[in-house]
């Protein structure tokens, strides 16, 4: 059922179109800068849908961030949030972030619903490091990523972004964990804040490796 289609545009980050099926590991130690880059990557174009699992922002805040990244993208987003209430059809809430069984079912349902509107989707987890810090056994997180996040990318026409705050305490060696995650994802973008509204992206695995300075 996986289809090869046109890439997913991310002009605002000076990156070329991203191929369908691409999984991106997004890392950085400045949470605000990470959030901004995440939103630019995940904000849906007119013929797409966004599916966002948010651990730190409410549904409306996520939709506002997506709107700031791309006009109208917030209206094309379904959000599963661990902060704040559910709202309408597009914002659902999660009671317990460590209940990965439920989280996985909710995420799959959102992706399936989004695909009723459009085949093309951008999915994202912001922040995966928060989940890693909450679960008892990291193997459960890897099962969740394999069974839900990476599987949906293999089966459908979409891209996925998994953000990791490298300053967070995940109960394991961060550098070693990133090394492992890097090999399972098809691309890695490292975000470094260089000034107010400015960042350097170190990109690996997206049509050539490069370093890009961006205004956010």
């Amino acid at each position: 059922m996986s289809l090869a289609t046109d890439g997913f545009a991310v002009d605002s980050l000076s990156l070329g179109p991203i191929d369908s099926g691409t999984s991106i590991l997004l890392t950085g130690e400045d949470a605000d800068t990470l959030q901004t880059v995440f939103s630019q990557l995940v904000a849906a174009d007119d013929d797409e849908r966004s599916i966002v699992l948010s651990t730190g922002s409410g549904g409306r805040a996520v939709q506002r961030d997506l709107n700031n990244a791309r006009t109208g993208a917030g209206n094309r987003a379904s959000v599963l949030t661990c902060e704040g209430p559910a709202s309408g059809e597009d914002v659902q809430s999660v009671d317990d972030i460590s209940d990965l069984t439920r989280l996985g079912m909710d995420f799959s349902t959102l992706v399936a619903s989004a695909q009723q509107h459009s085949d093309r989707f951008r999915s994202g987890i912001m922040l995966c490091s928060t989940i890693a810090g909450e679960v008892d056994d990291t193997r459960s997180l890897y099962r969740f990523l394999n069974s839900n996040f990476l599987t949906e990318l293999r089966r459908g026409d979409g891209i996925g972004v998994c953000a990791l705050d490298t300053s967070a305490d995940i109960g394991a060696d961060m550098s070693s964990t990133i090394s492992g995650l890097q090999t399972s994802f098809s691309a890695h973008i490292e975000v470094e804040k260089t000034g107010p509204g400015q960042a350097t992206l170190t990109v690996d695995g997206l049509d050539g490796d490069e370093t890009v300075d961006v205004d956010l």
Binding site: M1, D96, S98, D99, L100, T101, R102, G104, M105, D106, S108, T109, A112, A132, V135, D136, D137, T138, R139, S140, Y142, R143, F144, L145, N146, S147, N148, T151, R154, R155, I170, G171, A172, D173, S176, T177, S179, G180, L181, Q182, T183, S184, F185, S186
Partner: protein
């Protein structure tokens, strides 16, 4: 009630356990049998499903949520207990919020909504997909895992008389580092096979229970000074049962760059390794790889001679 629905059910490599009530079980097993490569066996209660899991080798479980003597989550819990590597699909018309996950918070399952218009068509596709891609494993795989496994397959250990050499090598490694255990393991698709081990009786371990499956993803030597401080390993009963406290692992990298195995040290106390020790462990891993490569070259040359 349980029965094999087709003659193909005797092909255990592709048998799928389908669990639903008496009224709906035929719909599910028909969808599975319709895939051609899959064969359904049926159970209509949690109890029957649990018995079947212990009696038969299945490659996937598809279960409804509402069952006469429990729920589909009870079936999935039985899968985790009796066949932890087997993926599960929860095929239900219940929305996620009506499913009681309180006792199963870290049990990952493929959720497929039965109310979707093409649900039965998707069931066969999804079941095949989770089997083909081992989609619910609890470890990270390299993006080029298939290439890695193909490289590993070229080193057919059964044909290469390697045991004595590697046993001597692990004896030397343990002595050099004064470590409790030293071993050489190859990392297969689902498990790690230990070719030689000094200080413990290791044969094989499920891959998600090993530290090596993490270590192989790092270019440099991976050291865990105390696994109690690392969430990746401190809930791992296998490691706890083995009494492992510290770990150091170095990659065995084939000439094409693929990592096929590990040379490792484990100890029963907290331990660190300095830069020199890490470099030495890497040297031992490269020596092990060279031994494997030399044996492989010899075997290949003999094969060519016979062919002439």
């Amino acid at each position: 009630m349980s029965k094999a629905t087709t003659e193909e059910a005797t092909d255990l490599s592709r048998t799928v356990l389908c669990v639903d009530d008496e009224q709906r079980i035929d719909d599910v097993s028909t969808a599975i049998d319709g895939e051609g490569t899959l064969a359904a066996v049926e159970a209509t209660t949690v109890e029957d499903a649990t018995e079947l899991l212990q009696a038969e080798s299945v490659v996937c479980v598809v279960t409804s949520y509402d069952l006469p003597d429990g729920t589909g989550m009870d079936v999935i819990e039985a899968v985790r207990e009796h066949a932890p590597q087997v993926p599960s699909v929860l095929f239900t018309d219940r929305p996620p919020q009506e499913i009681d996950t309180a006792s199963f918070e870290e049990t990952i399952v493929e959720y497929l909504n039965r109310d979707l218009p093409d649900a039965h068509d998707r069931l066969g596709f999804v079941t095949n997909d989770v089997i083909e891609h081992s989609a619910q494993v609890g470890f990270l795989r390299p993006d080029d895992e298939e290439e890695r496994l193909a490289t590993l397959a070229e080193y057919d250990i059964d044909e290469l008389p390697i045991d004595e050499s590697f046993e001597r090598l692990t004896d030397l490694i343990a002595s050099h580092f004064d470590a409790g255990v030293a071993f050489i393991g190859l990392i297969e698709k689902d498990e790690e096979n230990f070719l030689a081990c000094h200080g413990a009786d290791l044969d094989s371990l499920t891959r998600e229970d090993t530290i090596c499956t993490h270590s192989m993803l790092q270019e440099d030597v991976m050291v865990i000074e105390d696994i109690a401080d690392d969430n990746r390993f401190n809930k791992n009963e296998q490691l706890e049962n083995l009494g492992i406290v510290s770990y150091a692992g170095a990659n065995m990298t084939a000439p094409n760059g693929q990592v096929i195995g590990q040379v490792c040290l484990i100890d029963f106390e907290k331990r660190s390794y300095d830069a020199v020790e890490r470099a030495e462990l890497q040297d031992f891993a490269e020596t092990a790889m060279e031994i494997l490569d030399l044996r492989k070259s010899l075997r290949d040359a003999r094969g060519e001679e016979v062919a002439r």
